[in-house]
Structures are given as structure tokens and as C-alpha cells.
Amino acid sequence: MRMKKIICTVAATFLASGVANADTLTIATVNNGDMIRMQGLTDDFTAKTGHSVEWVTLEENVLRQRVTTDITTKGGAFDIMTIGMYETPIWGKNGWLVPLDDLSAGYDVGDILPAMAGGLSYDGTLFAAPFYGESSMIMYRTDLMEKAGMSMPEAPSWSFIAKAAREMTDRDNDINGICLRGKAGWGEGGAFITAMSNSFGARWFDENWDAQFDTREWSDTLNFYVNMMNDAGPAGYATNGFNENLSLFQQGKCGMWIDATVAASFVTNPKDSTVADKVGFALAPDNGMGVRSNWLWAWALAIPAGTQKEDAAKQFIEWATSNGYIELVAAKEGWANVPPGARTSLYENANYKDIPFAKMTLDSILSADPNNSTVDPSPYVGIQFAAIPEFAGIATEVSQEFSAAYAGQQSVEEALAKAQALTNDAMEAAGYR
């Protein structure tokens, strides 16, 4: 009888520990193709670890607001958050994220592209693991370039791009030489113009955190952009963001499009793109000043400090950002659909080298340096943003002023003057000046 009792107790304890070890993780993420694909493959993670996953998928801006509210109040609604290069160093510095400094040896942290690891770390400690990374590059119509009698160099200048854009423009046939973001928002048109301004020698702040919109470099950037877009851009470009330009390019209405490298898989997909077989790629342009106009971004997985399921969350991150996951996607959906821009070994893989945009994506990522993004020294880290908490609010307002100038509601000079004033006011209020 006693023996039976002991056996029952041991069995119950064993079962209970098994149940207790199987956690349900709540993961907040964005509705991007790679993320959706990951959701579909979660069964593989559950089969390997026993942990199940509940997804909260939100639009990027809603997600940002949602996870920021939760992490600043220590709400604990999520066990893993999908965040970017802007939030990671700030949140890591504040102690809001669990350091990812004890990932297993098999995970191979050293394989993460250095630019990605650097952008997702604070003080040398990795706080988020890149799920996929991106830079920006030129996607262009090879047939229209040929028709214009020009040839795209691998690393063109802005003057070449402007000339090509004007040559390729054919208003009668609804073809715009170039499509670029103009939509207000720090992550939309704001990101593009900031990256572009870097190549013109402009910067957001000098070493004393004084705004620099009253400089000739910013005036050159904005005037160049507006003149080129007025001559060769689509009507209403002031309200075009990534998706609007993607739509235009896929319909064959853009000669060139400079945007996220991740777009390459969309514009070369014959299912959605009418120009899939006529797309070429080149590095984002420069202006002969040693800095190109490409940005660097990663969607990464991070664990909020205070989660009760830290071990399970780490297991998930190791699974989702590993080489094993890349191979799983390749086996199920082909190499063109694996999450790009995160791991060095992917670009050494013979199977991936055949993908037409793979090399240009890697070259673009490698040429982006968040720690030295401007020609003159600047006090901030980041290429299309400055990694300070105040930037998102300030840049949103600045980009609204710029968009108003693109729409012809005010002059470039007026927009720059307003940007200068509002940025200095905000930086003063925040105690930087």
C-alpha cells in the first residue's frame, strides 16, 4: 500500500513538472510576410520544446504604441516582442529587456551579421536577436533603362539617378522615372529623407545636440529631392509610402524605386508584379562624400524584463532566429522566402547565392554603419534615425513639415526653418541643450 502511494506521488510529481514546463508564450509581432510565415511554422517549435505560442499581430505603429505602453508599465502582456533597431538600444539601456548573453553554443551568435548585432546591442550586450534585416537599395526597370540609352552602375551617384529618372519619365504612358517615399512619419518619408541627407553631408544634430536644418547640406538635400520628384516622380508623391510605391512599381509605373531591400522579393514575384522579369538592383546612391544613402533596419525578437517565461522565450528566440529555422523555411517554401539579412552564413550558402537580389542585399547591409552614418561627426547612433527616445516624436513633426513642402503647401526654406525651430525647442525641453 505504502509502495503504491510512493509510486503515485512520484508519477504525479513527474506529470506536474511536465505540465509546468510547457509554457504558452504570447508574442507581439508585425504583419510582414516573414513574420506570417513564422506563425505558420510554429508547430515545429511546439513539437521540439512542448511550448505553445499565441500571436498578437498588429500594424507597425499600433504595435509600437502597444508594446511601449506594456514595457514602460511592466504590464507583462507579452513574453516576446518584435522590435526594431530604434527601440532596442534605448530599451536595453533602460533595463527593460532581458540580455541575450547566454544563448546556447549551438545557436552561433557569432554568425549574426556584425551590423545587425551592433544595432541590436547596448554597451556590447545583445538585447534582441535579428529575425530579418534590411538595408535600402535601388530597384530599377532594366528595359526602361535600356530604352533611355543608359546603363546603371553598381554604385551610382545622385546626379546619375536624377538624370536617369528624367530620361525614363514618360508622362503619356504613365511612367514615372523615380518613385520615392514622401509620406509623413519618421519611419516612412522621414526615414528616406534622413538616409538621403546623410549622403549630402547633412546630419540631424551637431555634437552639442543643436539642430542642423539651417545648413546648406539640408537645403541641398531637400531641394534636390523636390526638384527631381516634381520632374520625374508620381503625382501626389507627398503621400506615398512603401506600400504605395510598391503598388506603382509592380504595375510598371516606376522606372526606379529606392527602398527597403526586402521589397526585392515582392517586385520579382511574378504572381503580384507585372515587371518581375525586368528588375535590376544597385546600391543606394551617394554624392561623392563617402556616405551612401542606404539605411539599416532589423525586425528583432526581444524579451521584456519581468516575464515569467524567460527560459521558454529564449528557446523560442533561438529557434526562430537560428540557421535551423532558415533551413526549415527553405525546405518548405524555397530559398527566396527565407528571412534575409540576419546571418552571415546565409550569404555563403550556395543555394542562396542564386537569388538575384541576395548579393546586393548583403552589400547594402554591409555598407551601412549606424555608428558612422554622417559625413561630419554626430552625437547619435543610427542611420535613418537618431537612437534617442525623443527622436520619434520630433521626426514625425519634421517629416510632416517636409511632406507639406513636397505637396507644395509651403516652400522648402519654410519647412526647414520650422523643422529647425521645433527640433531645437523639443531638444531644449528634453534637456539636451
Binding site: G33, L58, E59, K74, A77, F242, A260, F266, D272
Partner: protein, 276 residues
């Protein structure tokens, strides 16, 4: 003597009414059209959209990717729960304001309504912290309470307007016959105000069903209603219009059908007491 309306005037009024109706309904109609297109076709020009292939592809993808019925159940519970709880609180409040008014009644009503003008985001953090402390973050009960509080001013106002139309003498007679306050409210006032209560309930179910700020900010995976279901199909990188449209149609269909069948009560509820 009845006023005669010329045929020309009638025609013009009819055309104007139909034009306004079509303009208001057009976005919903376009969402329905896009929901039956592929992502590639959904971004084409309107004429190309209409002439392209019709397909259920987006519905199939949405059905496969999301748990529609979980979100639907949450929406039903949250919308109905918050409305019924609101009515339960508002009936006594509206009764006292309509039948036992004080010099401050009008001011209190205006103050209640003015809370609707407060930007919701201004109180997001305090409410979020309260939810954490009470352990009701991502719970249906939490949302029922919040949405009830948000819609309470409208419920009280609507019921107050109805109750004022009911002669106080009837309630007085009930009291003289020995009815307690509870009996007066339950067996005399409520049966007489059923049409008003019904239209109030209908309108508030619609408001609660469509509420998208609190339902997105106070939920995660468990209590997320259909507003979160729709939000999950918007994307900053990639084409999503067809799937977003399909998700939107699936989310608004129940409330659209309910509104269609109860439009008479709704119009009556919204216009009651407006013309004296």
C-alpha cells in the same frame, strides 16, 4: 391642409438622398469588392479591379491564418456585456434625473457628456496601470467595464430623453398604489420604456462593437475582439488590401446585418425627442 409637394421637388429630393446614401455606403461597398480580389488585382485602377477575376482566396487565407470565432465571441461578449451593464447602471440614474430633478441635473448631464470629449490616450497609462494592479489586463471583464464606462454618458442621456416623455403621474399613481421604488422601476417604468431601452441597447452595442482604441490597447491574445482581428491584417511592408478587406467584411458583417434589421428602432432611437 396638407402641403403639396411637386413631382420635380420629389425627384430632386430622391436623387439627393440616393446620392448621399451611395457616397456614405461607397467605402463599405469598395471594401466588399476588394475582398473578392487577389492582392495583385486589388491595387489596380478601379476599372481593372471591377473587371478582374473574382475569388474567395483572401477569405480562405484569413480563415486559415486567424481564429475568427475566438475574436467574434470576444466581440459579442464585450459589446453585449458592456451595454447591458451600462443599462443596469443608467436606468436608475436616468430615472432620478427625469423624475426627481435637482437644480444641478442639467449640469451633471452636461458634465457626463463632456467626458466623451476627453482624448482617450490621455488616460491610457492610468487605466493600463489599474488593469495591471487588478490583474484584468487582456481580460473580457476588464473591457466590459471600460466600455461600459465610456458609453455610460450616451446611455444615460438617451434613457433620460425617453423617461422625460413618460408622464410622471403614472409613476405617482403606482406609488400611491403601494409600489416600492424597485417595483416602480421594474414593473412600471421599464415596460413603458422598452422601445427606448431597445434602441439604446442597439446603438451602444454598435458603439462597443466598433470601439478600437481600448480594445487594441488593453488586450493581447486572450480577450482580443474583432477590431484586433482587423488590425492584424494591416502591414507597413507588403500588399495587404485584399486580405484586410476580407477581414473587415467578416468583422463588420454581423453588426451590419443587425443594424439592417433594426434600422427602424435605431432611427427612432436617434431622433426621439429631437422634434417638439
Amino acid at each position: 391642409m396638407a402641403r403639396t409637394v411637386s413631382t420635380r421637388r420629389k425627384t430632386l429630393t430622391t436623387i439627393a438622398a440616393w446620392t448621399i446614401g451611395i457616397v456614405i455606403f461607397f467605402p463599405i461597398l469598395w471594401i466588399i469588392v476588394l475582398s473578392f480580389k487577389t492582392e495583385g488585382d486589388a491595387i489596380k485602377t478601379p476599372l481593372e479591379v471591377l473587371t478582374s477575376l473574382w475569388t474567395f482566396e483572401s477569405y480562405a487565407v484569413v480563415q486559415e491564418r486567424s481564429d475568427y470565432f475566438k475574436h467574434f465571441t470576444n466581440s459579442v461578449i464585450i459589446a453585449l456585456g458592456s451595454t447591458l451593464l451600462g443599462v443596469l447602471v443608467a436606468v436608475p440614474a436616468a430615472w432620478s434625473m427625469a423624475f426627481v430633478p435637482s437644480p444641478r441635473t442639467r449640469g451633471i448631464l452636461m458634465w457626463m457628456l463632456s467626458t466623451k470629449m476627453l482624448p482617450a490616450v490621455g488616460v491610457l497609462y492610468p487605466i493600463y496601470l489599474l488593469f495591471i494592479q487588478l490583474g484584468i489586463l487582456d481580460s473580457r471583464i476588464g473591457l466590459v467595464v471600460v466600455l461600459m464606462l465610456i458609453n455610460l454618458p450616451i446611455i444615460v442621456w438617451m434613457l433620460y430623453t425617453y423617461f422625460r416623455e413618460i408622464p410622471g403621474e403614472i409613476l405617482e399613481a403606482a406609488r400611491m398604489d403601494g409600489a416600492t421604488l424597485r417595483a416602480e422601476l421594474l414593473y412600471v417604468l421599464t415596460p413603458m420604456a422598452i422601445p427606448g431601452i431597445a434602441s439604446t441597447v442597439l446603438l451602444n452595442v454598435i458603439l462597443a462593437w466598433n470601439e478600437a482604441f481600448w480594445t487594441l490597447n488593453l488586450t493581447a491574445a486572450k480577450a482580443a475582439p474583432l477590431t484586433a482581428f482587423i488590425a492584424s491584417y494591416s502591414s507597413p511592408e507588403g500588399l495587404f488590401y485584399a486580405k484586410l478587406s476580407a477581414a473587415s467584411v467578416m468583422a463588420i458583417a454581423p453588426i451590419l446585418i443587425m443594424g439592417w434589421f433594426s434600422q427602424k428602432q435605431l432611427v427612432r432611437g436617434l431622433t426621439f425627442g429631437a422634434v417638439k
